[in-house]
Amino acid sequence: MMRINPRRSAKISAAGLKRIVLTAPANVETPHPHKPLLTKKNSKAHVLVIAHSERGTLNDHARQTIAAAAILADAETKVLALILGELTEDLTSAGADEIIVLPELDFERFQPKLELASISAVIESVQPMHIFMPDNAIGDGDLGRRLIASQRTKTAATQVVEFDANHVANFQAGGTLLAQSALPEIILLAPNCVDAHLPFATSAERSDSTVTNQTSANQTETSNYQDLGLQTIAATEIALEEADFIVSAGNGVQNVATFESLAHALEASIGASRVAVDDGKFARDKQIGASGKTVSASAYLAIGISGAVQHLQGIKDCRHVIAINTDASAPMVKRADLTVIGDAEEIMQTLIALIAVAKLTKLKVAA
């Protein structure tokens, strides 16, 4: 609580008038509302969450899956997150009590046998009550099914759309029926069936599992599979809702040609604010926001977009938002992870030039 003098301090001016000097009030440190830390003592049991990371971070679906486990776990059950791929972010707000990271099991590489062996080793060592995985197409859905098929004594459910401590539910018969069952041991969770927001924080301690280190060190994927590499298809061929990198234009973009060449240089899809669309600069199907499309790109570069609430609603699932804006107090700046204040045209031109140089350098190095 802040305690302040209700009367503003004043002095008397030369003319004998009360004078209040308007200055900013002393900076009172408002206590940051920390979430209570939930610690699990004497935990006997484990709930295991397995998920691949992307670029060192977990996506919303993976975080929802950890949150699901955290909500389910009681005071004596630890949530152990087994992260496949490198992890550069903190998971205390995600709900994990303990983390094992296996950076070499990156989703970009196809090594199902090795992955299955590694997770099986962890399962063997901690004997989790339940195993949660996001049922996604970046590897967890596939790995989860391999796990289920390899452990036929465990009960399992996939594409779970609803669950609590007692039951799971999913759609069956081509989505025409909703079916319910008791909580199985392995649960592959559909996206958005859990709110990832938790009112508590967890310790998220990293632990080194010797079991897994050994497993992964001793095994290489010399088996039936050979990974020939990941590729990306042209941004122009992806629907805006699916796009991973979006460059988006607002009122502040005067020169659409420059904007389009920047998008091309970044191999990004094109979006626009309502104002830019109404202005006739872009087609209606490019509009992003509450009255347009909702996007979930990893990178959203907003150029000259002030960020009306409607627009911000359309990009709430975007991971990294970068803004180029002339007004540092625009709502977009508060939303963005990085904002550069300046003339959009000039910065776009410079970016295009720098990207060209960078690509050329990379080519030369490769050659």
Partner: protein, 687 residues
């Protein structure tokens, strides 16, 4: 199929509706003496029916009992059989266009003012006072409970007799039924208080009696809140329990859900979310109610766009969406959707001009549509003139000039629109600069697109002078040149000397905000606070000084709380009741001398910058240059103007070189956006 979910029919009880959009019950403030819906009321709804709306619920807070004062918001009076005939006319008008109509019926309990005819003693479960309406009340007695239950049934029978399609019983906004539900207002220890079951007793008795009165086939809905947002009130989980019990009672055919309580100023502002709030802020609460309900869930609040509405229905969050303000802005919304003219929909921007007027007891008007609720005299659809095709020159592309250009072009005339700035919009562009008020620009965006669609000859980026105008050989000249910041009124403010700057200079970013800023606001509307907020949001320390009783005094009940949230959150200092006497410099500081309204005592502020908002002064230069040359000497005949008839001057035949001159909006005297647009519409509709 476009909007397949929105245009999927739905059945409420036995009532089949063609689509998922409806207009929610709101206080129109149009009822005539004795609480009777008259011509204006009926035409207001009929226009929505013509525009394709499937269902409207009219008569927000229509009282069923005599002890609800009827003076304050001109509600529809359901306490007398006299209401049946006018309601029957309303029903007939709606049904003629294929629309369904229901009415809300309620007892407001303590949520009213005693100091209005018939000066009743308000009743409430425990007599707890309501702050917003200063609703002092007595604790209700069992006999009164029984009387009111009978009143509900009698009112429902009247509604049914009038041929309406249903009735919505309100248990939202802390009306009497939810005053019983809420522990905040119900501290009784008889069978109507204590346990949730006891607290629900009154509402269920009402519904039972109403159902008995109207029979099984008549549609009955219940409007309820999904979270009062009070610590001592009803939270979402409790309201879900109530909703489940109500829906499972088999007595109701739908539940219409609203987020937020409404019994404090700050909570009222949520109910009709203004532009500062995100889109559909409370739909998740409505979805929560839906998860336990066995009857369809209807929900409004911040749903203004068809794509947004389609998404909400498609995601199964609710069963129907209320788009009430959207229909106030454009009653032809659904027809335009059907015609593939979504871009021509005049979209609500959430300025809340409508509801803010209603909260001060004035009739509901739309900030951007002057025809709304004036259907008897003002057209929503402008038809082509059958008379002479004229050459109309309009000067100034603010809201008045844009509306004039649009209407004249729709009438089939050749229109030339001059604007000195490179973009249209006038002062609204400044209004849109204030934080969380960006959507004001939506008003202009529509005019911008419409004037382009109508292929109006828009000459932007150069001020027109008399010679340029005459060179166009116009038969009509309409001046809508607006005004300029009126900082010259008190020379001692020192604007000419650079001691103070105008709010316009700050909003237009001609002048950068300094560190410590005093904003002086003599007007008390959105502009002054918006300027202060604009400065504060850039990190400056701001004091708002005003001679009014409070800061933003002329801003309505759903907008000032938003301003005050920002005022306190940003540590702005509010200093009402002071005049700005003069400003002088002391070193690099500015000293503002203030005079208290009530003591006349002077005091000073030492700041870096003084910003003045004193409204606008009409730009009349062009008017005086053209007045003498015009056939009508620049005069608008107010008798015909106010009675919505054509200007007499229009029937004169003009020889070559002769023209008529009119002026509208702020270039006559300072008005507001609605005033500017109304000026333009009522003048130009007969061109």
């Amino acid at each position: 199929m476009r909007y397949p979910h929105l245009f999927m029919p739905i059945t409420l009880g036995k009532l089949l509706l063609p689509n998922r959009i409806y207009s929610t019950a709101h206080a129109e403030v149009y009822a005539e003496v004795g609480g009777m819906p008259g011509e204006r009321y009926i035409k207001y709804y009929e226009e929505k029916a013509k525009g394709g709306l499937g269902m409207a619920i009219c008569g927000g807070s229509s009282p069923v009992s005599l002890d609800v004062p009827q003076g304050a918001w001109k509600p529809v009076n359901l306490t007398t059989d006299l209401v049946i005939e006018p309601l029957a006319k309303l029903a007939e008008a709606m049904h003629r266009h294929g629309s369904k109509i229901m009415i809300q019926a309620t007892h407001m309990g303590r949520r009213s003012v005693f100091a209005s005819d018939p000066w009743p003693h308000l009743v409430s479960p425990s007599g707890v006072r309501e702050p917003v309406h200063r609703g002092n009340a007595k604790a209700i007695e069992i006999e009164e409970i029984n009387r009111i239950i009978r009143d509900f049934a009698a009112a429902a029978k009247r509604v049914q007799a009038a041929g309406l399609d249903g009735i919505e019983i309100s248990a939202a906004h802390q009306h009497l039924i939810d005053q019983f539900w809420s522990p905040r207002t119900n501290q009784r220890n008889d069978e109507y208080g204590g346990s949730l079951e006891n607290r629900m007793r009154f509402g269920l008795q009402v519904l039972n009696t109403v159902r008995d009165a109207v029979g099984a086939n008549f549609c009955i809905g219940l409007r309820m809140c999904a979270d009062e947002f009070h610590d001592d009130g009803l939270d979402h989980e409790t309201l879900k329990e109530i909703a489940q019990a109500m829906s499972e009672s088999g007595l109701i055919d739908f539940i219409s859900v609203i987020g937020s309580g409404a019994d404090t100023h700050n909570k009222v502002a949520n109910c009709m979310p203004p532009m500062a709030l995100p889109p559909e802020p409370f739909v998740h609460l409505a979805a929560g109610i839906k998860s336990v309900s066995t009857v369809p869930i209807l929900h409004a609040q911040g749903i203004r766009d068809v794509t947004q509405a389609e998404r909400i229905i498609a995601n199964g969050l609710v069963d129907m969406v209320g788009m009430t303000r959207a229909h106030i802005a454009d009653p032809y919304m659904i027809m335009k959707i059907r015609n593939g003219q979504e871009d021509q929909i005049k979209q609500c921007v959430g300025a809340n001009h409508c509801i803010d007027r209603q909260y001060s007891g004035q009739d509901v008007l739309c900030v951007q549509n002057a025809a709304t609720s004036r259907e008897a005299t003002m057209p929503h659809i402008i038809t082509k003139s059958k008379g002479t095709k004229r050459r109309v020159v309009i000067v100034g592309a603010g809201p008045a000039g844009l509306e004039a250009a649009r209407v004249a072009a729709e009438r089939g005339h050749e229109v030339i629109l001059f604007e000195k700035n490179t973009s249209v919009g006038g002062q609204v562009n400044l209004a849109a600069k204030a934080p969380q008020r960006e959507q004001m620009a939506g008003i202009i965006r529509w005019f911008d697109m419409e004037t382009k669609r109508l292929k109006i000859d828009r000459r932007l980026g150069g001020a027109a002078d008399a010679a340029m105008i005459l060179a166009e050989k116009p038969s009509i000249v309409v001046l809508a040149t607006g005004g300029s910041s009126h900082t010259s009124q008190v020379p001692a403010w020192g604007v000419a000397e650079g001691l103070a700057v105008s709010s316009w200079d700050v909003l237009s970013e001609k002048v950068a905000p300094k560190k410590n800023v005093l904003v002086y606001d003599t007007i008390g509307t959105h502009a002054g606070f918006g300027t202060a907020d604009f400065i504060a949001s850039r990190g400056s320390t701001v004091e708002i000084v005003t001679p009014d009783a409070k800061v933003a005094d002329d801003v309505g009940g759903t907008t000032f709380p938003i301003f005050y949230r920002r005022l306190y959150a940003q540590g702005m200092i509010a200093t009402p009741n002071y005049y700005l006497e003069r400003v002088y410099a002391e070193g690099d500081k500015k000293i503002a001398v203030l005079r208290n309204e009530y003591t006349e005592i002077l005091e000073e502020r030492e700041v870096d910058q003084v910003v003045i908002e004193n409204g606008s002064l009409p730009n009349t230069e062009l008017y005086w240059a053209l007045k003498e040359r015009s056939k009508n000497r620049g005069q608008t005949d107010i008798e015909t103007l106010f009675s919505a008839k054509p200007q007499p001057a229009l029937s004169q035949t003009l020889t070559t070189g002769e023209f008529l001159l009119f002026r509208i909006g702020d270039c006559v005297s300072m008005h507001n956006i609605h005033g500017a647009i109304y000026d333009a519409l009522r003048l130009c509709k007969d061109f």
